[in-house]
Amino acid sequence: MSDRILEVENLTVDIPVGGGMLHAVQGISFHVDRGETLCIVGESGCGKSLTSLAVMDLLPSKAFRGANVLNLADEDMLSAGERRMSDIRGNTMGMIFQEPMTSLNPAYTIGNQMEEGIKRHKNVSTAEARERAIYLLEKVGITGAASRLSQYPHQLSGGLRQRVMIAMTLMCGPNLIIADEPTTALDVTIQAQILLLLAELQREFDMGLILITHDLGVVARIADRVAVMYAGQIVEQGTAEQVFNRPTHPYTQGLLECIPIPGKTDRSKPLGSIPGIVPSLIGKFSACHFAERCPYAMDECVAENIDMQGAAEAGHEYRCLLDNETCDANARKKGVA
């Protein structure tokens, strides 16, 4: 078995809406290796969450998924039926959701909900499942783990519930965890704790982790690689070092301009902002999706679809017509490189 856990090529998600077809995810490709954290960043509505649901095959029933390649540990998930997918979900691939307050069933105890997954996938006794649940609850930093098992979700705080969700996802020892904005709904002070916990567990259990977020500060701390999404496309992808230190795409540069980075940001200048709004993704249109808001937009930008091109270093690519030198020069001018 290779180290490549997830391989996605040309993934699309289309959703029929009142006025036509919403092309929510437009042919994105990425991969995750064992022990690697991939952060997908982008603003709300850019297709991050749908991407993760598409990988899990948990899209709403009216949404259509398409892809050239969708492999989990060399197994083709495109040809896997619903039965096979349900064997994979929660077993070798788990997901943590945004809303800890509503992601647990109010009618059942924590223990019940933690144990049912492992009993479904692995041949374990109730006692073994319980033991594993207690072990993992302690791992995620919950005190009095044994007594928590008989509690109901409404008796726990949001932070605790998200810790329970994380422990629950780890029950079967998955190869890949997808965390979809796991801290958005939590208090700021809890957010960092939960994310660092995730990063720590990912290292300890040597899993692949896809973290979906719009918090660039978090990305900078825990990402191995970063994919920047804008309006249904990945506009820049590379190692965290590449994306943060040599951002090439004008959107990435704009994003980085918006956050203060110690030692880099010019204190005398106000923080940047990106004018304009995200285009509607209903109906086909061939143009650079960012052209509307891009300070460097040219006539060619709206004439055709823009393809990814390689940057100076291997593994770093971006979706823009400008050549690499120009991009680097722009980045330096903006003070984000």
Partner: protein, 308 residues
């Protein structure tokens, strides 16, 4: 994005992707005309109302006129010797024209349904709005009244009261009206609770508007949709109850052509002349169905998010 198109900064037109948004009123009208149930229900109800108003003009015969010589003529679709176009729906066991009785019967159903709905609507809305608006003690008392009312079986109490007080159209209307206000109160209470915490109601309170003014100008317009929907449900309810009371012999009294009474009278001849109960029952079914479809339609058209 109000100008209907996006001008790119480079001066290039990308695509006109913004559709002109219709106003809420236009959208409601569009939904109304495309809502099959609403249109059918409304149309049928209008026809029945027209029949009721025009009954004396369009009935071929006097609904009370007994001609024992021509009794139990079957309706025209029956293959029978006595069948005649003079009595398209036949005659009953007293030789009264069934079509005329059916047309006049719609008057009774609509009158009782509408009046009882009006009485119960006034009681229930007053209680419900008061409970929802004032909350606290008032809410507790109203809730208690609703629970008490619900615990008493409607048909049984109605029958008992009518039998004790005596039965006339007016009494049946009042008894039903005084009994079926519960749904109005329940729905108006919860709707008012939702509306009263909205910003503009709080604002009206803050600038010192009087309570009646707030209730009538700020709250009522926002709960009137739900009120109409409940009104249709309760009108249908009252019509069914009247028919049941008359069927049991304690509602409208013979020889009045109430549909429930017609079914009761036809019951004894059901074996050989099933149309005697089939025709008034179908009329009752169509009327209730039309009112329910209209009510469901109003709910869907005014508040599509409340579907299901």
């Amino acid at each position: 994005m109000t100008d209907g198109s996006i001008k790119s900064r480079t001066g290039v037109h990308i695509e006109d992707r913004i559709i002109d948004e219709p106003s809420p009123g236009e959208r409601a009208r569009k939904r109304m005309f495309s809502h099959v149930g609403f249109m059918i229900g409304g149309f049928v109800l209008l026809v029945i109302i027209a029949l009721a108003f025009l009954a004396p003009l369009i009935s071929p015969h006097d609904p009370l006129d007994q001609q024992l010589a021509r009794k139990l003529i079957p309706p025209i679709w029956h293959d029978h010797l006595k069948v005649t176009w003079a009595h398209p729906l036949g005659t009953d066991q007293f030789g009264r024209d069934y079509l005329s009785r059916l047309i006049h019967g719609s008057q009774i159903s609509l009158l009782i349904g509408f009046s009882a709905m009006l009485i119960s609507g006034v009681i229930g809305t007053a209680l419900g709005v008061a409970a929802g608006y004032f909350g606290g003690r008032v809410d507790m008392v109203v809730n208690f009244l609703i629970t008490t009312r619900l615990s008493m079986p409607v048909i049984l109490v109605a029958l008992a009261v009518v039998s004790l007080v005596g039965n006339s159209l007016t009494i049946v209307i009042w008894v039903l009206g005084l009994l079926i206000w519960d749904r109005f109160a329940v729905v108006m209470r919860s709707t008012t609770q939702q509306v009263r915490n909205l910003d503009y109601v709080v604002a009206a309170q803050a600038i010192g508007c009087s309570v009646p003014r707030i209730i009538f100008t700020e709250i009522m317009p926002n709960i009137v949709n739900n009120l109409i929907v409940v009104a249709t449900i309760e009108m249908a309810h009252a019509i069914i109850l009247e028919a049941a009371l008359s069927f049991l012999g304690l509602g409208v009294q013979p020889p009045a052509p109430s549909w429930g009474l017609m079914i009761a009278e036809g019951k004894n001849h059901m074996l050989f002349d099933p149309w005697l109960i089939g025709i008034p029952g179908t009329a009752l079914f169509i009327l209730i169905l039309a009112i329910n479809l209209l009510g469901d339609g109003i709910r869907d058209v005014t508040a599509p998010e409340n579907r299901n």
